[in-house]
Amino acid sequence: MTDTLILTARWGEKDTHTLASYRAAGGYAALEKALGLAPAAIVEEVKISNLRGRGGAGFATGLKWSFLPKDVRPRYLTVNADESEPGTFKDRYILEYEPHMLIEGIALTCYANDIHTAYVYVRGEFARQARVLEAALAEAYQAKILGPRLLGKAEFALDVYVHRGAGAYICGEESALLESLEGKKGYPRLKPPFPAVIGLYGRPTIINNVETLANIPWIVMNGGKAFAALGVGKSGGTRLFCVSGHVNRPGVYEKPVHYNLKKLIMEDCGGNLGGRAVKAVIPGGSSAPVLSASEIDVSMEFDALKAAGTMAGSGGVIVMDDSTCLVRALWRIAKFYAEESCGQCTPCREGCPWMEGVLERMEHGEGQAGDVDKLLQMANNIGGQTICPLGDAAAMPVQSFLKKFRPEFERHLAERRCPFGGEAWGRTQGTRPAFIGPAKS
């Protein structure tokens, strides 16, 4: 185990978002170093690093880059800063505290892949974060880091632009993001072709998450091998785990990618509020199948969580204690997908609001015999039946909650009421200090 902090070491300190501060901490040295390397050597380092996408799918970053067709230009980089998966709140802090780390990662990625235009798609609600990034970009242009000549010397032009979204979870899906960037509503595209071949404006396009790219400078500086060594197996590095819900110290924790989930909750986050017991944990954003208390002693590495029947997803860990009504929690999750379904595919457009409705009546003591099986049937008819993974994301919570906590749903039907009452859900926790980077702890 290691205490290496790649992304969060300076979070919470003053002025880390400025170019001067980033430079003083050794910033842009990786870009300086990279300009003396062959672009292909950088791609190779990233492959060796075992860096896997931090947005949700966990796809190998270096491999993704290698899917770009050899001789088609221009190519584009789009950075996914549409952080919207419930329970996920890490990219926003990278934008707030280390915007230049992201910009350097973008510059390295573009240099490695012969890309001269990058767009950062920032979700519309991140007004402050977009302002900080815009200011950092302006500084980088002013200092001639970006523009006609990379770092003011390389024969390599690079432009980076911010493109703000306007409130649509679906635009975090990569092909919907491209549609939105082209000025349309966010309807996901059929794949294949994948964006690496036909992406933005029909051109080869790399789409990477903010956290993914922010790791690139460290990899270039320290080597892919060192990054791989921080993790385990086919997953390298540290990753940002966002913990929310019923814990004493919620926040963003940078830990080795294979860190233990139970340890994170019970030790780092100080356990449950008021010493209550864990009831359920969603380990990777609201789309990830739920784990029961007996299942949380598990590595959070991508393949380990997959083997445990769930997924590492976006790193959003939502902790629910034994006061939580899981019918209510699932109802709220179903409502989210019903709200955010883009409407393109019938199973998702019709099925999500239907699931929400059944869960709502169940929570209010108006459920009908057979509702549990009906919910399962609906979820099974949405998952795998849609163009994009939002359908699966809506189905997985329903399937997993029912599989692991079915008696609680049956009890709502049998008693014709919520056995938890309204209090548990609405209980105000007051403000707890959140752990946002070590400097504030």
Binding site: E83, S84, E85, P86, G87, T88, F89, D91, R92, Y119, R123, G124, E125, F126, A127, R128, Y161, H163, R164, A166, G167, A168, Y169, E182, G183, K184, K185, G186, Y201, C242, V243, S244, G245, H246, P250, G251, V252, I282, S286, G316, I318, M320, T324, A329, R332, I333, F336, E339, E340, C342, W425, G426, R427, T428, Q429, G430, T431, A434, F435, I436
Partner: protein, 173 residues
């Protein structure tokens, strides 16, 4: 439901001239971010700008964005009605948007949202009779560690308590 008042191509000419001029001035640098033959890419920023200047997206404002980007007004309307941050109806002088997603609710957001509805006397999406505040329930804002969270006129407020929210919203003029 069919829109009884669809945007027509020339409708933007009825907009106040100074507003249109400001729109054009501020749109120009934004357009430089996209390839020349891909002006339509600026649809989201153009609509955001239109909303900022004209307070909400009327058919005329949508037609203005469409005209400048070289697409049909229907395309602008399609986008304006897809994204939740665009208002196609009038809103109050202030917009308060409360997240009630799972992490926020585990920290008491439901109660905050209920209290705000009572304080303002409106339901979801409603505007107070004096036109002061529009209240909306919204999805995850990415502030789950510092939950509950809300947006006040687009700016994030985190670590909310009942008292803090009632004060903040009460102070809006």
């Amino acid at each position: 439901m069919p829109n009884p008042d669809p945007p027509t191509a020339g409708a933007w000419q009825d907009l106040p001239e100074d507003g249109v001029r400001r729109f054009d001035d501020e749109l120009a640098p934004i357009l430089r971010r996209y390839p020349e033959d891909r002006r339509a890419s600026a649809m989201l920023p153009a609509l955001r700008l239109g909303q900022e200047i004209f307070s909400h997206l009327t058919p005329a404002v949508m037609a203005l964005a469409a005209d400048r980007l070289g697409v049909s007004p229907a395309r602008a309307e399609e986008v304006a009605t897809f994204y939740v941050m665009f208002h196609t109806r009038p809103v109050g002088r202030h917009v308060v948007e409360v997240c009630t997603n799972v992490s926020c609710c585990l920290s008491g957001a439901d109660r905050i949202y209920q209290a705000l509805k009572e304080q303002l006397g409106v339901e979801n999406g409603g505007t107070t009779a004096d036109g002061r505040v529009t209240l909306r329930e919204v999805e995850c804002l990415g502030s789950c560690g510092t939950a509950p969270a809300m947006l006040v006129d687009g700016e994030m407020e985190e670590g909310l308590t009942l008292e803090k929210v009632e004060r903040t919203v009460g102070d809006l003029k």
